[in-house]
């Protein structure tokens, strides 16, 4: 089952390097922002934009910079849908559950992704290849039901298209591995 769905909890030890990088980055980033409460959300946004999630140490650093308590930063960050607290998978799958997609059976599509990967919405597979989340509306209602896979909008989704996407991923992965092996062999 998924490892990183524990909300604001500390990241597991294998992420330490990533977290360390994030901390180094924030040290550079923070002085650029005035110590003003109004900057809280923009700071969190720029951290997430670069690192795709917010580690708890990162939020503590932001709290110190703005002279507010870490709990206030956590409170704000958890209030908004944009922020995530665990690293997403290599392939991010977002299933739209806006009104039009719901009417067209978006929940069935989400269920298919969940079943295929063995994780629930908002989780990442243990190998960190895939993460699945539901989003409110991506605004492509005429293409419903819609899923956004790695920034590509897939319209008119069907359970069989879900299968097809994974076959594609599989082929890509195999090709990459093959190329890697060939490169290594030639070296």
């Amino acid at each position: 089952m998924a490892l990183y769905n524990d909300g604001v909890g500390m990241a597991p030890s294998d992420l330490d390097h990533e977290e360390w990088e994030m901390i180094q980055d924030i040290k550079v980033l923070l002085p650029g922002f005035e110590k003003h409460r109004g900057n809280l959300i923009p700071i969190l946004q720029s951290i997430q934009e670069k690192h795709s999630y917010l580690a708890s140490t990162a939020m503590e650093m932001v709290a110190t910079h703005l002279s507010i308590t870490p709990s206030e930063v956590f409170g704000v960050a958890t209030f908004y849908n944009q922020f995530r607290f665990h690293p997403p998978g290599k392939h991010q799958i977002k299933v739209c559950l806006g009104t039009a997609c719901h009417v067209a059976g978006g929940d069935i599509i989400l269920e298919n992704f969940e079943r295929k990967l063995g994780i629930k919405d908002g989780e990442t597979t243990p190998d960190r290849e895939y993460s699945v989340e539901r989003v409110a509306c991506v605004g492509c209602c005429a293409l419903a039901p819609v899923a956004v896979v790695d920034e590509n909008v897939q319209g008119h989704m069907q359970p069989s298209k879900v299968e097809g996407l994974f076959v594609q991923f599989q082929i890509e992965r195999e090709r990459e591995e093959r190329e890697k092996a060939e490169r290594e062999a030639s070296e």
Binding site: N81, L97, T99, A100, V103, R115, V138, G139
Partner: protein, 650 residues
């Protein structure tokens, strides 16, 4: 600074815009306009553009490619308009142009002069050769005022907006006294397009009257309704019109600072707006002493982090202040005490975008459109079961029937209209008996729905109203900020009750409970979210009560939608021997072969996704859906078959 100087400075910008226009016309090479807004990109406009570029360079044809904003015709994306001045045809609008078709167009039309009629949606001008798009109801019944230039200009080129008369409204406003500007807006009768319909002029007047100098203007672009995307389209397709409206508003109320609050989920809109601000500043249409006057005005963009409740003005202000976006008590209203304690005018994107043309063409002109109490136009994103979904701008007072059946082409696949949901999670579902309701603030509220921000979902006979209510409650329950107990806990209870009804576990007293609980939530909540959250439940209970009763009493979903209450089965009479189509598509291997080499569904494994039904060849049409599930005939899976399927799964 005299008025003359102001006009002279603006005239030089207009001359530059004309000069650029003439330069383009002089070249007389074809221009290819590609719709590159979010929905266009989702349908593959990037590939289309690339294909055009490649094909043009292969054939060494000189043509200009101009990315434009959205025309609102989502069903036809990717849309392309080709203006080929030497071919003898007017500019032609093509629909669903993928990469292959783009190459064909280059070869046949740009090279060969044949306009490839089968991809043509219509001509952009009246002519004798090709039917014009303006003759189609989807175009002719619309009345474009806010979205007038959307899709016709490059949003990144300020001169194109100026060429369409852009920023003339601002110049006219700057020539007048602020009070005169407010008078014009008040006379026009413009009402806030965010949903509540508060008179914009009155809001501005209150803000003007406050004595504090440091005021704010906020543009509310936190479009959180699932299924509504008109604000995004305006921001992406014509950001300058909004900036012009924003500047006029700031001048009228006496503000010098403004924040455009746009959802972070709209990266393209954020980028377009930021770019527009920069180019307007370069031409001194924004920034310090605009066009040499004493009016200073700066705009910054704040990216909203995704909370539905932040569409409420006090919550939105909290969010800009770096707090949790929780609504505050009113009074004091933001116009008296808003952002950082300063008087703040919060106006919706559509409201502000309506302002420039009101100033330019006058309030009398604005009043000729729409109804007496709701002048102007309304923009809806019409989605769901209609033939031509997309953004539609119509005059207020148009009936729902005209909008759904005439403009958007009605219900596809020969199905029956069942209901229309207006106003998103805060709105209501109206049945066919309300189709003649005119669309304006008051009539819709009276009918039990509301204008909302303009999301409209059309549903056919296959939609279950209980399920739709459950869907909206699921949304509002998640988005409740948690401040008021009735909203926080009440919506959760509503959701639990609806959940069990859709699962066939509804109880006799549930409907009464839904009604009393809904009333309590409405009474006990502070902001619009809680006050309107029960609307979908209340309206659907009012107009579709028998559906709720069927779920509770007969454990049956009349629309065959609620998955716990339905079953799929294969009619052995109709199933074709040896056909395997459904077997391959079943995601859970629930379909097996019977003794007669026909197919049957293992009800224990079936997840009711309906894929088998959609792939079954129409000549057999053997898969059926029934409710309650007991109606499906039970066919035992042969034991050896079970083993086999396990083996193959390993």
């Amino acid at each position: 600074m005299s008025k003359l100087e102001l006009r002279e400075r603006f005239a030089s910008i207009q001359r530059e815009s004309e000069r650029r226009n003439e330069e383009k016309n002089k070249e007389s090479i074809p221009t290819i306009f590609i719709v590159m807004s979010t929905c266009g990109l989702a349908s593959g406009a990037t590939e289309t553009k690339q294909a055009f570029e490649e094909a043009l360079s292969e054939k060494s044809i000189k043509a200009r490619i101009v990315p434009v904003g959205c025309l609102g015709h989502c069903y036809a994306e990717p849309l392309v308009i080709i203006d080929h001045p030497t071919a003898g045809f007017p500019p032609i609008c093509y629909y669903q142009i993928n990469a292959d078709r783009a190459r064909i167009l280059v070869r046949s039309y740009l090279e060969g002069g044949d306009p490839v009629l089968k991809y043509v949606l219509g001509a952009m001008e009246e002519n004798d050769l090709i039917p014009a798009v303006m003759d189609f109801p989807r175009f002719s019944l619309e009345q474009r005022l806010v979205m007038e230039h959307c899709g016709h200009i490059d949003p990144n080129d300020i001169y194109q907006y100026v060429a369409k008369g852009g920023y003339s409204g601002l110049v006219k406003a700057l020539e007048a006294e602020p009070e005169e500007v407010i008078d014009l807006v008040e006379k026009s009768g413009l009402r806030g397009r965010g949903g509540a319909g508060f008179p914009t002029g009155r809001k501005w007047r209150i803000a003007r009257a406050t004595e504090i100098d440091d005021k704010f203007v906020i543009c509310n672009g936190d479009e959180g309704d699932p299924g509504a995307y008109m604000d995004r389209t305006i921001l992406e397709s014509n950001p300058h019109q909004l900036l012009e409206g924003l500047a006029i508003c700031a001048y009228a109320v006496g503000a010098n600072r403004s924040i455009a609050y746009v959802r972070a989920e709209y990266p393209l809109a954020v980028k377009a707006l930021q770019k527009a601000i920069k180019s307007a500043e370069e031409l001194s249409l924004l920034g310090p002493s605009i066009l040499g006057t004493s009016f200073n005005f700066e705009v910054s963009v704040f990216q909203g982090s995704g909370a539905f409740v932040c569409g409420e003005e006090t919550a939105l202000i909290q969010s800009i202040e770096g707090k949790r976006g929780m609504p505050q008590h009113r009074p004091p209203f933001p116009v008296e005490k808003g952002l950082w304690g300063r008087p703040t005018v919060v106006n919706n994107v559509k409201t502000l975008s309506s302002v420039p043309s009101i100033i330019l063409r006058g309030p009398e002109w604005f009043r000729t459109i729409g109804t007496e109490h709701s002048p102007g136009t309304a923009i809806f994103s019409v989605v769901g079961n209609v033939k031509h979904p997309g953004l539609v701008e119509i005059a207020m007072g148009t009936s729902l029937r005209t909008l759904i059946f005439d403009v958007c082409g009605g219900i596809p696949k020969k199905k029956e209209f069942k209901a229309v949901q207006i106003g998103g999670p805060s709105g209501g579902c109206l049945p066919s008996s309300f189709l003649d309701t005119p669309i304006d603030f008051d009539s819709l509220t009276q009918a039990g729905a509301m204008m909302g921000s303009g999301g409209m979902v059309v549903m056919d006979e296959d939609s279950c109203m209980v399920d739709v209510s459950r869907y909206f409650l699921d949304f509002t329950q998640k988005e409740s900020c948690g401040k008021c107990t009735f909203c926080r806990i009440g919506t959760n209870h509503l959701l639990n009750i609806l959940d069990r009804i859709t699962k066939g576990e509804g109880r006799e007293k549930d409907l009464e409970l839904l009604e009393t609980l809904s009333k309590d939530i409405k009474d006990g909540s502070l902001c619009g979210l809680g006050k309107t959250a029960p609307n979908p439940v209340l309206t659907s209970l009012k107009y579709f009560r028998e559906e709720y009763e069927a779920h509770i009493n007969e454990k049956r979903c009349p629309a065959l939608k609620c998955r716990t209450l339905i079953a799929y089965y294969i009619d052995l009479e109709k199933c074709a021997r040896g056909c395997e189509v459904c077997v391959g598509c079943c995601p859970v291997d629930a379909i097996f072969t019977t003794k007669g080499r026909k197919k049957a569904i293992d009800q224990e494994l079936c997840v009711k996704c309906g894929e088998c039904r959609s792939v079954c060849p129409p000549e057999y049409d053997a898969v059926f859906k029934v409710s309650p599930p007991e109606l499906a005939p039970i066919i035992e899976r042969p034991p050896e078959e079970k083993k086999e399927s396990k083996k193959s799964a390993v």
